[in-house]
């Protein structure tokens, strides 16, 4: 074992050795590269500066706030306010909107519709599809068929309060269960409704009577709908759950109470109006594409 004072320089590399000697083999004591030492020193210096400037040390119930007084949640809210203010330029007119004026105004359409599309994809598309084409059980928004008319005002109302929600102003669309009905009657009714769908219904005294006694109050005489009570027309193949025999049988057995959530707390008034305007145009746009 050598003394610490004993220094021996390796002639090949020019570095010091550890001074140990194992059967003639010596170990180099290569110093840390300068760059590593400087990097270490810099990080220490930075951390001291950061402790002084930024929130750092917990002290009991409080913490050192730092000279800059930064708070991440304040920054986030500030940034969000800036974002919202920037949007106000083109979003403002939607707060209390005259939809018919917008219909003609290309500027608003060009500025606001791209944003509306993003809102739609973020909030609506998971049920109604990216292009609003719907899926079984979730309505198509890009056609001409509406339960409560397709004007932006009515759509905004639906977005605001939803369908079958807890909201006081909610729309209701509640198909009751007809499981109390005798099975033969249900079968006859279902067959009748299927035929209503493709317009090939034949006069069938028994089923027609069943229909007008049980269904016509909501779906209209001969299922023409249009009563704006949440019950669809049954003669235009627009029923969102489908109108094949087994689906109709299931609908009769268990009823349907589909829910559209209310968006009042999640979206601002202006955003809801913007979306309503966007959705009301989906059908028109679809038509244009088709032509």
């Amino acid at each position: 074992m050598s003394k610490h004072s004993h220094r021996e320089i390796d002639p090949v590399t020019g570095h010091e050795t550890t001074g140990h000697d194992w059967n003639g083999i010596k170990e180099l004591n290569t110093p840390l590269p300068k760059i590593v030492i400087w990097a270490l020193i810099l990080t220490f210096v930075y951390s001291v500066i950061a402790w002084i400037l930024l929130p750092a040390w917990p002290i009991g119930r409080d913490y050192t706030r730092g000279l800059l007084g930064l708070d991440q949640s304040d920054i986030a809210l500030e940034d969000y306010r800036a974002l919202a203010t920037k949007r106000q330029d083109w979003l403002q007119p939607f707060e209390n909107v005259d939809f018919s004026a917008l219909q003609a105004d290309d500027v608003w359409q060009n500025n606001a519709l791209p944003a509306a599309q993003r809102l739609f994809e973020d909030n609506c598309a998971v049920c109604h599809g990216m292009q609003g084409r719907g899926i079984q059980g979730f309505p198509v928004l890009s056609d001409e068929t509406w339960l409560w008319s397709g004007t932006p005002e009515e759509i905004a109302q639906t977005i605001r309060y939803g369908i079958n929600t807890d909201s006081a102003d909610t729309r209701y669309a509640e198909m009751p269960s007809f499981n109390w009905m005798e099975r033969p009657d249900r079968v006859a009714l279902a067959e009748y409704v299927v035929l209503l769908g493709d317009g090939s219904v034949k006069p069938n005294a028994a089923a027609a009577t069943l229909f007008s006694e049980n269904c016509a109050a909501c779906h209209g005489e001969a299922g023409i709908g249009g009563l704006e009570n949440g019950a669809p027309a049954l003669n235009d193949s627009s029923v969102i759950y489908g109108q094949d025999f087994s689906t109709v049988m299931q609908t009769l057995w268990s009823g349907r109470q589909g829910v559209m959530p209310a968006w009042t707390d999640r979206l601002t008034q202006a955003e809801i109006n913007l979306l309503a305007f966007y959705v009301s145009r989906l059908g028109a746009d679809e038509k244009q594409v088709a032509q």
Partner: protein, 242 residues
């Protein structure tokens, strides 16, 4: 300093002591703030604990590893507030043991998902995500339609109450029947459920079938409750809107 290190290397017990001191700094910095957590984290006055059904759903959420892809924390960044709503506050998860904030998102954050979509959508999406969102890469969970095992709910509530979650003895003993009641709007037990948990938790057949209590009932009830246990977080948004 390097000289000190060089000398320390030659005294083994000295080196051990120095390692222990250096490592404990990291530990103390993380542990010390927890000593005052009761004073520093404000529990909102209106924070309600999960109902037994939601708690069962939470256990399923953990069992299926949902947290591996879905965080439950809206971070305090402008873009997050814009997309998800008010950023999450510590008090919101005061009754969560363990918390499920998460740090990795393959899917979206779920902290404010409650009420955003309908029960029916959740059920279909869990059974087959591609049936509603064609581009989804989420796995399907069709086995959630099996019956819910409520045997351990009483023990779960008892354990959580030991940890400071305000479950009364009555809530603990009737946990299993409360879970059933919350998914069965027409049952006789709903009165007892309402008496214990008041008006806020929803009573619905979450999976669409009131006749059966399934794991789907529990998970959907839990998802629909996320972000609705306290309304205190809404103050952030109100401030912003004004």
């Amino acid at each position: 300093m390097l000289k000190l290190h060089y000398n320390l290397e030659r005294v083994s017990m000295g080196l051990v002591a120095a390692i222990i001191i250096a490592a404990s700094v990291g530990g103390i910095v993380e542990i010390a703030p927890l000593f005052t957590i009761d004073e520093t984290v404000e529990v909102p006055d209106d924070l309600r604990p999960h109902t037994p059904l939601e708690l069962a759903g939470r256990e399923i959420f953990i069992r299926e590893g949902c947290y591996a892809c879905h965080s439950q924390m809206v971070r305090s960044l402008a873009d997050e507030i814009d997309r998800y709503g008010p950023y999450s506050q510590a008090g919101e998860s005061a009754y969560d043991h363990p918390m499920l904030w998460g740090s990795k998102r393959t899917g979206p954050d779920l902290a404010r998902i409650g009420g955003k979509y309908s029960d029916e959508w959740h059920v279909r999406h869990l059974i087959d995500p591609r049936s509603v969102v064609p581009a989804s890469i989420m796995p399907a969970y069709p086995w959630l339609l099996k019956s819910l095992d409520t045997d351990l709910l009483t023990d779960s509530l008892a354990t959580l109450s030991e940890l400071g979650v305000p479950y009364s003895d009555e809530m603990i003993t009737s946990a299993a029947s409360d879970a059933l009641a919350q998914s069965r709007p027409d049952s006789n037990e709903t009165d007892g459920f309402r008496a214990r948990y008041e008006e806020r938790p929803a009573i619905r057949a979450f999976d669409g079938d009131p006749a059966r209590l399934t794991e789907m009932d529990a998970l959907v009830a839990y998802l629909q409750a996320l972000g609705t246990l306290t309304v205190v977080s809404e103050t952030v948004v109100v401030e912003v809107d004004e």
